[in-house]
C-alpha cells in the first residue's frame, strides 16, 4: 500500500505541475497556471507524511510498539514544523 501511495502521489503531483508549467508558458501570471502547481506541491509534500501515517497504523495493528512509537514521534515533529510554518 505504501508503494502504491508513493507511486500515485508522485504521478499525480508531477502531472499537476506539468499542466501548471504548460499553462505558465502559454499565459504567464494566470491563476489557472499557478493553482495546479500549488496543488501539485502540496500533494508532493503530503505524500511522505501519508507514508509515515500508514506505517504507524500498520505497526499499531501488528502490535509493534517500538516502530509505532517511532512513526508517531516523526508525525509529531512534522506537525511541529507545520505549526512553526503557520506562525
Amino acid at each position: 500500500m505504501i508503494d502504491r501511495l508513493l507511486a500515485w502521489g508522485g504521478y499525480l503531483s508531477t502531472a499537476l505541475m506539468i499542466y501548471g508549467l504548460g499553462a505558465l508558458a502559454w499565459s504567464p501570471h494566470a491563476y489557472w497556471s499557478s493553482a495546479p502547481v500549488y496543488a501539485g506541491l502540496l500533494i508532493l509534500m503530503l505524500t511522505p507524511v501519508a507514508r509515515v501515517l500508514i506505517a504507524c497504523v500498520r505497526y499499531l495493528r501488528d502490535g509493534d510498539r517500538l516502530s509505532a512509537s517511532l512513526t508517531a514521534g516523526i508525525l509529531v515533529v512534522i506537525a511541529l514544523s507545520a505549526w512553526t510554518a503557520s506562525r
Partner: protein, 276 residues
C-alpha cells in the same frame, strides 16, 4: 529575493533538476547537493530560495526512490524510522536557525561538509559490510538479496549511537543547506555502522523525503518557496531519477562510492570558489 520566474529560468532549472535526479537516484541522495550550487552559482537564485526549491526536489527523489523495486527490497524500515525521528527533529531545528544564519556562512558550511564526506567516502570505498545469510542480523540489521552476488546476505548495524547523532546532525544540515541529508548519512552508515551501500542508499532515500518535508513546510510558510521554480525542478528530477535508478542498479558499490566522492569534492570547490 527573486520574485518572478521567467520561462528560460524555469527551463534551465528543469534541466538542472534532471541531472540532480539522475545523480540522486544513482547514489541514494536527494539531489539537493547538486541542485543548490547550480541554482545559487549558475542561475543567481538567492540561497534561502534555492534551499526551498531543493527541499521539494528531495521529496520527489525520495518518493521515486522508495517506490522503486530495487530500493524496496533493501529498505530497512525499522532502522529508517528510528534514524528518521532524529533527522526530522534536527531538520526542524535547522529550519529555525536557518533564518538567523548569513548566506556566506551557509555556503562555507556546505563546502566543508561536502569535502569531509567526499574524503570519508573515498577512504572507505572498499568497505562492503555484507555477512553470510546465516549470521544473526540483530535488532537493527537485516537481510537482502544482493543481485550482484546472486545470494541473500546479512548485515548487523554497529555503533548505533553514532548513527543516531549523525542523523540528528544530518537533519539539521538538511534544512540549513537544502539537501536531503543522505550525503551525510550514507557515508557514515557504510563506513562505520556496518550497513551495506545498497541498504544505506535505499534506507536513506526512504528517509530523506520526510526530513525534507518538515523543512519545506517552514520555507513555504515563510514565503521563500517559488512554486514555479520548484515545479520545474521537481519535473526534471522525476525524469532524471528513473535513469539514475537504472544506473545505480548496474554499477558496483565501489564505483558508486568513487563517483560520489568525486562529485562531492567538485560541488564543494564550486560553492567555495564563488563566495559573496
Amino acid at each position: 529575493m527573486l520574485t518572478d520566474v521567467t520561462l528560460p529560468l524555469a527551463l534551465l532549472t528543469g534541466v538542472a533538476g534532471m541531472v540532480a535526479g539522475a545523480l540522486g537516484g544513482m547514489l541514494g541522495l536527494g539531489g539537493g547537493v547538486f541542485l543548490v550550487p547550480f541554482l545559487v552559482q549558475g542561475l543567481g537564485v538567492p540561497m534561502p530560495q534555492a534551499v526551498a526549491v531543493s527541499l521539494t526536489t528531495v521529496i520527489a527523489t525520495s518518493n521515486a526512490l522508495s517506490a522503486s523495486s530495487w530500493a524496496r527490497t533493501a529498505i530497512n524500515m525499522r532502522l529508517g524510522f528510528m534514524l528518521e525521528l532524529l533527522t526530522a527533529a534536527g531538520g526542524l531545528l535547522g529550519s529555525l536557525t536557518a533564518l538567523l544564519v548569513t548566506p556566506r556562512t551557509l555556503m562555507i558550511t556546505f563546502s566543508v561538509v561536502m569535502a569531509l564526506m567526499s574524503a570519508l567516502t573515498f577512504m572507505r570505498r572498499d568497505v562492503r559490510n555484507n555477512l553470510p545469510a546465516s549470521v544473526d542480523p540483530g535488532p537493527w540489521g537485516g537481510r537482502f538479496l544482493d543481485e550482484r552476488l546472486g545470494e541473500t546476505v546479512s548485515y548487523r548495524v554497529t555503533r548505533m549511537p553514532l548513527a543516531m547523532v549523525t542523523s540528528f546532525l544530518a537533519g539539521n544540515l538538511s534544512t540549513l543547506l537544502g539537501i536531503g541529508g543522505g550525503v551525510v548519512k550514507v557515508p557514515v552508515l557504510t563506513a562505520w555502522c556496518g550497513v551495506p551501500m545498497r541498504v544505506a542508499a535505499s534506507t536513506s532515500g526512504f528517509m530523506i523525503g520526510v526530513t525534507a518535508t518538515s523543512g519545506a513546510l517552514v520555507y513555504l510558510g515563510r514565503g521563500l518557496l517559488l512554486p514555479m521554480l520548484a515545479a520545474s525542478a521537481v519535473v526534471g528530477v522525476r525524469l532524471g531519477s528513473g535513469l539514475g535508478l537504472r544506473l545505480g542498479r548496474r554499477l558496483p558499490p565501489r564505483l558508486l562510492k568513487i563517483i560520489l566522492a568525486v562529485v562531492l569534492v567538485l560541488v564543494s570547490i564550486l560553492m567555495v570558489s564563488r563566495l559573496p
